[in-house]
Symmetry: C2
Subunit: 202 residues, 2 copies
């Protein structure tokens, strides 16, 4: 084994190709949904555009919705790791604000992809149930991370799960507010929402 440093993480060509296929399927799904809308796209078409067979599609994603949403386990782990890290002078809620806002904001590298994703996903009301369903995965990952950060046993106290759930709900509420033509810019509203939560709701 003289080859280790070739790639970032996945040395094997096999792993890299799987990642590429997964990404290709996700991008194909986004393309097609953008063109025709979620309902008018079939999994066969997504597979075809990604260059794989119809059957292979379901080796990568358990449903059409999942392919469009495309959240990977790696992303979840990354966010969890970010939350687990105890930043100086930052409360759990503040960390969550930073991390969740970062999930929405088009970031350095994937700038245009993130913005595209956000636009397409939020523009499809029929995807809303699947999106909140996907939030369960995020919530579980972040809850585990926060429990580790707080040094409590998994499921021992309500605190970690409550904080994460409320934070995610706050972001969701802001997005919903936005979609209903609500006032204010998204980032600003998220800041306000977290401020209110920190101050205590009535």
């Amino acid at each position: 084994m003289s080859t280790d440093l070739l790639n970032d993480e996945s040395c094997g060509l096999r792993e890299r190709k799987k990642r590429e296929t997964r990404r290709a399927l996700n991008l194909a799904a986004l393309d097609l949904v953008e063109e025709r809308g979620f309902a008018a796209v079939t999994t066969e078409e997504i597979a075809a555009r990604a260059g794989v067979s119809a059957r292979t599609f379901f080796n990568y994603f358990p449903s059409k919705e999942a392919a469009v949403i495309g959240t990977t386990a790696e992303e979840l782990e990354a966010y969890a790791a970010a939350l687990e890290e105890d930043v100086e002078g930052e409360s759990p809620l503040e960390s969550l604000r930073r991390i969740l806002a970062g999930m929405l904001a088009p970031a350095s590298i994937d700038r245009e992809l993130r913005a595209r994703r956000r636009r397409i996903l939020l523009g499809e009301p029929s995807l809303a149930p699947a999106l909140v369903g996907n939030n369960i995965r995020i919530e579980n990952a972040l809850t585990g991370a926060l429990e580790r950060r707080l040094g409590v046993e998994p499921g021992a106290s309500l605190e970690a799960r409550l904080t994460v759930a409320v934070a995610i709900a706050a972001v969701r509420a802001c997005i919903e507010h936005q979609q209903n033509g609500g006032s204010g810019r998204l980032e600003r509203n998220i800041d306000q929402a977290f401020d209110r939560i920190a101050a205590g709701l009535r």
Copy 2:
């Protein structure tokens, strides 16, 4: 149509029968899911047990999940009305605590049915996405009601939606905590959760 009494409830035989059918389908779905589990039940079986054709099933519910969950528009309206009512010395969050806890607690009349529902729905992890999807409906109904209570234009301020979303998230977190074998009784945890939210999270 000069209907005045008809649009109420339980007036026309037609309306009453529709309600019975809806209820029969919901109960049949609960029965079968309890017996065999959600995945092993078909919509045809539900329809058969309820005494209607397979096609008619989809005149009442848009999906198998919806039939099992069975939340009716009337229930939503009732909860919304309860929230809209301004109770002396009760903040919006306190009203939400009372109403949402009431949704879970086996109440006077439907005592055993409510408990059954809760047991079956929460015992089926595969229904979790559908359940949180259903929460969107509840959130929208309650948000509208709270906006009316506060006297603001729909969607004008973030406050109403944020409060409702956070309250629902709190209850969900407690349920999730419960299912993961967390400590404490559900009612008590919900009380604690709302207390924390009122005091401000960190």
